[in-house]
Assembly symmetry: none
Homo-oligomer: 219 residues x 4
DNA sequence: GATGAATGAGCCTTCATTCAT
DNA sequence: GATGAATGAAGGCTCATTCAT
């Protein structure tokens, strides 16, 4: 009845619509949280930001709680996809891979004011709600695990006298701390400077694998 | 009846000095934010937490906005006082001083779940409100400045090939990132582990000044 | 079930047009102010009076302030419409017109306890708020202007020795004073008595145009 | 002990103090109502206005309700005292007396922005509270009664064809309406103009007793 | 007498959610 | 699918009143 076969457009559009709408609303949520903060973001802000009607969010996400959970899930997934893809396409060798991982953390796609602002707002607030904690914990574990493995490989390969776990935890903290600096103090910290700082540390810690320009061609 | 003669303790009941009440309320605010999150903290929570009546907060702080600002100011001041005192009482020599600074960041007084939770909740949310930003920006600048100076001294003294600014920014980020890890993932990160991780980095970066047990006696 | 086919009456239940709701709420406001006074009228009173929920007033008027301003505007407009219509439909001749104007001031539609009570409550309180003052000032000027013109015509036509401006101002004051008397002392003053009193004055002042029964047929 | 006989000051001062304080507070109430309006006047405003502490008003008047009632009573009494004194000191003859009465209504002591503003605010709001109504009704009755008597005398004396009751009610209304005009529209109406307008009416109505300059010397 | 910290009821307002259309 | 008027619970805030000092 509703034009099933008219080209292959209509049914597809209908079908897509649902996902498209959810996507629009999640984007609007991120934008609002980045601009107004978590506490000040209302359902109306989200609906308005998406250019849709007021009741629409409850229609697609049932409740604000669930919209927020989905938004956090979406951001976690995007973050994870980004570093996994960087790892997958990196040149072989632990130095290359660690470098790829570190650089991916400063990719404009994940590392920009809007995303970082929403990211911390959501995570810090989620802190108080057990349900949310689980959403962002999982991907973090995997990220840290990858760093530990690479540090271990580098230590073995370079004969460094250091503990892989400690180095990995420190690097992980430094990366997250850099995001915070970029968010809180954009005048002083930037994606470029953050990367340079981390690079400096890698050069000091793994001198046989890194220079300030990045990984050395050691394989 | 309630301790009639014990010195002159009585005023605790109905009339307490304005400063005492404000202190109580700020503590209750921190506790509530740590437990419930920023968005879920209400004036009633704070009043109840302090064991006082509902109208009391507006009486002493005029508005929620101002209570929050005062709380942030209070926490910033406490944080700054802590590291300044550590620096002041440290043994002479840049390594000793940097170590004192780093250790102070993991003092139980400033580095504990309650304080960290409120700290990030307040700062991240403050992010959206220009007025609040200024409150926490100032002390941060001073802290980073102190680290830069010490890094410069160490580099000069040890003849290291590194950039003081980059190292300082990285260390600063790592310290803040550690707090985040302790907050978000207390099962994996702790004050002790955080300090050990940072120590590992100092050992790698300034090998002539630090071992994994701390600063070497170089002066 | 609730009148399924009776024309298309249904929308009255859940969704009423914005204008209809605003009208309902303004009426409820007038009623409440008349009954309880300005200071004692709460948003809840208005909502209850309209048989609607609590949040409804802010939904349609944004704030109490704006509801009150709209109510004042509504009453001013109704008052002005009333005398303008009376003037428009009056028989020709200044006496007939002045009489129509005076009589219109005692029309039951504008001159009744409920309306007068709200009218003065709103105007007197509005006195302290510059924004409101403007709302009721404009129509008053027009009313007074109309009286001045008619007095001038009568003086010219009857050869009276009097000043039109003074007479107009006095008549205007008397009319408003009558409303106050009707409001404050209904046992002594009524619409009928008020009109009779004014009529007596017109008879004394414009004896060639008025008798105690009203305007004389002079054209 | 408290210096009973030291001159005769202290005891007197103590004694007076009570009445003095009440007077101060009533004056502050009038000032605040005139400036802020009835609804916006708080106990704190009154206390601050009198330069006294917060709890003081309840101390001297028990409740806000009673403070307001006393203020209204005070103003009614002052108003009545003013016209009674005018009547008492007027030259003999009904025209002289009526003129004295009318003039007294435009005396600066009772007819000024501050007093009029508080007067109407209090009376109009009192309208909704039966207790208050009685306070201001009584003096009004007396005032109107005095006017009726004088009108009757003038009519008898001048052989006018008019009804004393109607004329009195109209004059009373006009006088009160003039106050309203002076309050609401000070740019157009003033004490001087108000008196001139009323004078014009008296001249028209009682031509054998009044000219535009006031009462004629007819006795 | 006087003070002002403290109380708590009640107000205005916001906002997530519902639901008739 | 989508809209947006309507709901009502909950929050921040004001303010008359109380009372220990």
């Amino acid at each position: 009845m509703t034009g099933i076969d008219q080209k292959t457009d209509k049914p597809a559009r209908r079908k897509a619509s649902k996902e498209v709408r959810r996507g629009q609303l999640i984007e609007a949520t991120i934008t609002s949280i980045a601009a107004r903060g978590f506490a000040a973001t209302t359902m109306a802000d989200v609906a308005d930001g998406a250019g849709l009607s007021r009741g629409i969010v409850n229609f697609h996400f049932e409740s604000k709680e669930k919209l927020l959970a989905e938004t956090l899930r979406f951001m976690s997934a995007a973050y994870e996809a980004n570093w996994r893809e960087a790892l997958r396409t990196a040149a072989p060798g632990p130095a290359q891979k660690l470098w790829a991982l570190v650089k991916s953390d400063f990719d404009r796609s994940v590392c920009n004011q809007r995303t970082i602002a929403a990211w911390f707002a959501l995570r810090v607030e989620a802190q108080s709600r057990p349900t949310y904690r689980r959403i962002s914990r999982r991907p973090d574990d995997a990220f840290l695990g990858a760093i530990v493995d690479l540090c271990r490989d580098l230590i073995a390969d370079g004969g460094y006298d250091a503990d892989a776990g400690k180095l990995a935890a420190g690097l992980d903290a430094m990366l997250e701390g850099m995001w915070l600096s970029i968010l809180m103090d954009p005048d002083r910290m930037s994606r470029r400077r953050g990367l340079a700082s981390v690079s400096q540390y890698l050069t000091c810690v793994f001198p046989r694998h890194f220079s300030n320009e990045g990984p050395l061609d050691t394989n």
